[in-house]
Symmetry: C2
Subunit: 396 residues, 2 copies
């Protein structure tokens, strides 16, 4: 293949304006004034180049994306939404391969090159979701990489048979095992975490736990997760999603947990949705904790909101964090790029020579400007292949 020379870009965190020579799916060279040789040249006109965006937390199997608008039908309580989903998911034919496809295509066009999705696994739905998402993902593999977490939406202990299904899901190729509110939902945090971490240790998969439990209960569970992660030697392989308790804790407790999470190598993933608590991402980053970000629900029975655009998601995170300064807003951009890559364990991620050529080009003056205005994606490459190319103009 002749390759591609991206002339006159401003790659983020790559030390100044540069050309990028793309060959065999990787960034072969990066620097000023590169010789294109036989490569096709695209003039970026000084545009900003970001590494491919990484969606660290969503639920593809639930989405109704691209289908006609469906007014939200659940009552106000969590139990209402769980019951509503159980009632309607069959009638709606979920997971819907067409909707999953439409959403992944929208994500790819918006510059997302990697996705972690939590797929429901519980008695009643079994492993259908894992298979549907796997098959759709296989068809789109050239445009976007999908990794699944086997997610016990209805609990593990509370839903007998789920532990065995999680293990079967690992056999089907999911790369992480999930969990949910070990105390609040499953009523036995130690046993719940024992099952999840046991699967991770036996099968070498990663861990990504939903933790909505609030206040001191959630703090206690974070402590248990930290202890378990250390004991199992799983640094860099465990994520806690949402972690509302971390947002609610007093400053001293946040400081203590941030240090312990950093030392244990645990990622915190936030979605910054609705009015829900957002962990103190700046404090976490300053303590050395990896922070990732994702949409959570997108146009499904749980939430009518969500677009799949991770720059928009970064805006929500920056906004809810009251980030005004460029260097702060970049923390949110980092969460949808390097932070997600850390959570997923992507090798060689970033805009460096030898890295996979996963990148997105936008017309923005600074990275913070890109988060604030979310400009169109002028060029998206996945492993060197053009996923979206719309050189045009749009600037606010």
């Amino acid at each position: 293949m002749p390759g591609l020379l991206l002339r006159d870009g401003r790659p983020w965190r790559a030390g100044g304006p540069a050309d990028l020579l793309i060959r065999d799916g990787v960034i072969a060279r990066l620097g000023p004034g590169l010789d294109p040789g036989d490569a096709e040249v695209i003039d970026l006109g000084g545009r900003l180049v970001l590494p491919g965006l990484v969606e660290a937390h969503c639920h593809l199997d639930k989405t109704l994306y691209g289908l006609p608008w469906r007014p939200h039908s659940a009552g106000p309580a969590l139990a209402d939404r769980i019951a509503d989903e159980r009632r309607h998911r069959t009638e709606l034919g979920l997971p819907d391969p067409a909707a999953v496809t439409a959403l992944l295509e929208a994500m790819a066009a918006a510059g997302t090159t990697h996705v972690r999705t939590h797929t429901d696994v519980y008695s009643g739905v079994g492993l259908t979701g894992v298979e549907v998402v796997r098959d759709v993902a296989a068809r789109l593999a050239g445009r976007i990489t999908v990794e699944q977490v086997a997610f016990p939406q209805s609990g593990i202990l509370a839903n007998p048979g789920t532990a065995a299904l999680l293990e079967e899901a690992i056999g089907l190729g999911v790369s992480a095992v999930g969990g949910i509110d070990p105390a609040g939902m499953d009523r036995d945090p130690v046993r719940h975490l024992g099952i999840v971490f046991g699967l991770a240790e036996r099968h070498g998969v990663r861990v990504d736990l939903h933790l909505h439990d609030p206040g001191s209960l959630g703090v206690f569970e974070l402590e248990l997760i930290i202890e378990r992660t250390r004991a199992a030697g799983l640094a860099g392989r465990v994520t806690v999603s949402h972690a509302y308790a971390l947002a609610q804790a007093d400053a001293a407790t946040q400081d203590r947990l941030a240090e312990a999470l950093a030392e244990a190598g645990i990622t915190i993933t936030t979605a910054a949705i609705f009015d829900f608590p957002v962990p103190p991402v700046k404090k976490l980053r300053e303590a050395g904790v990896n922070v990732a970000c994702g949409h959570d629900d997108i146009r499904d029975l749980w939430s009518p909101y969500g677009s799949g655009d991770l720059l928009e998601r970064a805006m929500h995170l920056a906004y809810r964090s009251t980030f005004r300064r460029d260097e702060d807003i970049e923390i949110a951009l980092e969460a949808v790029t390097f932070g997600g890559a850390g959570a997923l364990g992507l090798d060689g991620y970033g805009l460096t020579e030898g890295a996979p050529a996963d990148l997105v080009v936008v017309d923005a003056e600074t990275p913070a400007h890109a988060v604030v205005t979310r400009p169109p994606r002028d060029l998206v490459l996945k492993a060197g292949h053009v996923v979206a190319r719309a050189f045009g103009s749009h600037k606010v």
Copy 2:
């Protein structure tokens, strides 16, 4: 003039699909199957028609909209932002007529037909802002209507001479007098409110007070404002913007205040920005309180965020209010339409025969869908004149 027939629209809250016949700047007729006569026909293809959007709270005089990206330069505290603005506003040439023009044009193109803006009035800046905004607004009067609030950004008592400037501003045509944290900033809530309401009573202008003061202090000030409004007989002419204390109060206090605000005819305007408290808009509406919404700062020294698009602002309000159901999301849409019209006292506002032909057409299945996806504005009319017309396609 031959007029315009909008064929096959779905006007919001107008009882079903209808045509709209626009003549002499008003909606002359509304109903199915209208005879166009000599009017130009635009086929809306079943699109949703909303009344013109009403921006109820912004600061046009501060904006840097359309200028090159300027990283936020203030420190984290409120005092830092006030000092930063004082330091940089002269060097930046604020208010900047070009930036004000660019923002108003963007607002108009996004379907906003009326704007209330708070213009700084204090010793040092005098009435320059009022004059600049007035002159720009006059040039754009065919596209968007601007009304100014004379806003004592640095306090009234704390900034000697401001009371006289507020009165002078009224002479220059501002339609409302503002205030700011009568206790927290000016240290004497009764005197502060005495000056503001005194001006309103003497000159027949409206009142729109910034109230950020938190907790029981803010609740006390709301009580004072309610008492003052009743005593002056200013029902329907007083707005409290932000009202964080109302968001922070316990449910019983919220209930009591909601009832009193409704009875006094006071509007609550919220911006739902950053992580700042959002008043309980559903509870307020259920109690009969008029609720409006605006952007607050847009791309200025206070905030790098903001687009001028009120559907986006409605999304933020709905999102922060954790509105999922269509009927709840419509509360946010109501705030940027009818609620704003109530705050500004717009006569005959709405999609009814005889009303000014201020409207915006979008491709959305329901009003809530429009808030969630914020589709392009396919047609915008201001007093019957075409402000924006981009019949094209975009649908998520």
